[in-house]
């Protein structure tokens, strides 16, 4: 369960998010919509703990009852997916997944775990390949697998579909939502495209308050 409690987010110039509260249960999706510049990505950065200096943020963020708002990113257990897949180019697909997987067990067991994840995503045998040799859709799927193998307690999606072409987009969207349900963790999706919103999802719409000083 991810709880946002009275979140307000502002720059010295204007208020981006005013007093937003939401509760996202495991396997559910919260969609944050708004024009570009409305503060969607800043809200995600606040949740992941990567907000740059110069923002003023108030309110509480609780993940499974744990207050995470003041923790450094590395201790929040919140996964993050960007528009770009950001696969590490100096590692093979398998190494990318192993990097995410928590330590413990023999290397063979960890490899088997990563390869099983690849197989479930229809990417059997792609482990030894280099990221640059995969298609855009394959890379996107690997980056989702990587984020989930790190066993996050929540997943943040920063317009992950916007770079893909229409046909691919539909399939990848279904793939991501299915994984989120399967994993049973709350997810927050930021987008400006109404088509990205699945039926029954909670939606928050951010509108820029232009007149605010």
């Amino acid at each position: 369960m991810l709880e946002l409690d009275a979140i307000t987010l502002a720059t010295p110039q204007r208020v981006l998010v005013r007093n937003v509260s939401a509760r996202v249960a495991g396997g559910e999706l919260l969609v944050v919509m708004g024009e570009s510049g409305a503060g969607k990505s800043s809200l995600l950065a606040m949740l992941s703990g990567t907000l740059p200096d110069g923002f003023i943020a108030t309110g509480a963020i609780r993940l499974n009852g744990r207050e995470i708002g003041a923790l450094p990113t590395a201790q929040r257990h919140v996964g993050l997916l960007f528009q770009d897949d950001l696969l590490f180019p100096h590692m093979t697909v398998l190494d990318n997944l192993l990097f995410a997987l928590p330590a413990g067990g023999h290397r063979a067991e960890r490899c088997a775990q990563a390869e099983a994840a690849l197989a479930r995503a229809g990417l059997e045998g792609h482990g030894p390949r280099w990221p640059h040799s995969l298609s855009g859709g394959q890379r996107s799927r690997v980056s989702v697998l990587r984020a989930l193998l790190a066993q996050p307690q929540a997943l943040l999606l920063d317009e992950p579909f916007s770079r893909l072409d229409a046909a691919l987009r539909e399939r990848f969207r279904a793939f991501v939502f299915e994984r989120v349900r399967e994993q049973g963790i709350p997810a927050v999706l930021v987008t400006h495209d109404p088509q990205d919103v699945p039926a029954g999802a909670q939606v928050i719409e951010l509108r820029p308050e232009l007149d605010d000083a």
Binding site: T73, L86, F88, P102, R107, A147
Partner: protein, 554 residues
Amino acid sequence: MDTTLRPVKAARGWGWALPAALFVLPLAAALWLGAAEAVDARAWSHLLSDTQFAAALAESLWIAVASTMLSATLCVLIVTRLHGTRAWQRVQGALGGWLAVPHAAFAIGLALLLMPSGFIARLLAGVAGWDAPPDIATVRDPWGLGLIAALVFKELPFLLWNVAAQLRRVGQGAELERQLQIAATMGYSRRTAWARLLWPQLLPRLALPLLAVGAYGFTVVDMALVIGPARPPTLAVLAWQWLLDANAATNHQGAAAALCLTALVAALAAAVVLAWHAVRPAARQRWTRGDRPSAARRFEWPWAGTGAAVYLAVVLSLLFMSIAGVWTFPSLWPSHWTLQAWAGVAHSSSTVGVTAVLAIVSASTGLVLAVAWMETAPAHWDARAAGAVFAPMLVPGVLLVAGLYQLSLHSGIDGRFAGLWLAHSLYTAPYAMVALSPAYRGFDPRYQQTAHALGRSHAAFLLRVKWPMLLAPLAAAFAVAFAVSVTQYLPTQFIGAGRYATVTTEALTLASGGQRNLAAAFALLQALLPAIVFGFAWWLGRRQARRLHAVAMA
């Protein structure tokens, strides 16, 4: 209607051949003649049986390996700790000033600080109760520690500057920053993320700067003459002394030593590449082990402050020494001050004149060659030209200078200004190219299309649009080339046959002759002349930026 589509071929003439030939032909001839000097069986047998050879070689290897490892380690440590903090901004802001202090001037200043009668020993004398300078070699020590320290302080800013340039590259910097964020969401500390993600990607891209640092430490002559070990000196210094010898057989032995250094640079580079490939599999196992070492908060060393303090101390010690009169040992202050050294500098004002004229002429030549190349050759040819461009930076100075001397002998310009001009231009051109190419190659091609679409000639486009817009980077590249010329020691001394004195040759001759006051004054000038030109370039750039800004605001 039947139309055939033909690929449109850009009209590209042979214009590129002229700047390429003007640079590559003398360079290749010099390398060939230098190597030819060394192809002499007797010279090699003399070299290998020389009593100093083995010790000098071991010393050079030790100095090169120690200074390179230390600079690289400190660079990794500093960037890992500081990147993303305000301290990193401070370090980046200070890099330009640190880089602008010439190697030889830095070595002379550091030697003045460290020597047994230097300021540091005087400070210690107060505590330890010494009344005479300690009887230990603190400057030309047999372990080369003084030279290693000088090299590390000079090379570290160069490496940091290269890392900063990689991180600033368009697109790449932001991508690396987001990779760090991804790693953080997976529970990795910043330090572990740097070690497993960023350095494995950055280090291969730093191969060339690291090679330059290693090759420089292995073959440097000017710094080693001031602060390097004396008995025996390093192999590069030995080669230099042999090249200067009046005996032709000894000259051949010097050329053989220079070729030996060159071969060893290549062998060391190959060894490092092989070692990298050998450790990579084990390193990859480590990167992907999945453990998340906690980020233990340790004491943060004030890196920017340390660097600033060392450079300030070095420059101040030069200034201090250039005006110090009689100065008995344990006292911290000279008993009187004197402007004698500066009067001496004023007296030999032709030295400053020769330095400046030579630097202006060869920096202009270098800049013209670089611009001519980039105007006539497509950008993707730069990679092909890289071998020639980097040769003067990577080939040991003693070998290139030996060849340049032969070349100037054959063409009758040895000991003449033309010989110095040629030699200096071979060094200024590549630096001008490296300094200018990011801005010049990054120039938006649509301006050219726009100018041509407006019916203006190509010459008008260059003179009225492109070069005025690129004024700041052109001035900066000129300043870099100017500094490169001012600080040349080997070619100036050798090709000039001692007939042309520059601030650099004077500073080094006087420093090794123990004339500290005058040496300090000339060393300061060696730093000051390029600083004036850098300042002018900076002023031009600012004026330009303000003008463009004013236009944008109007």
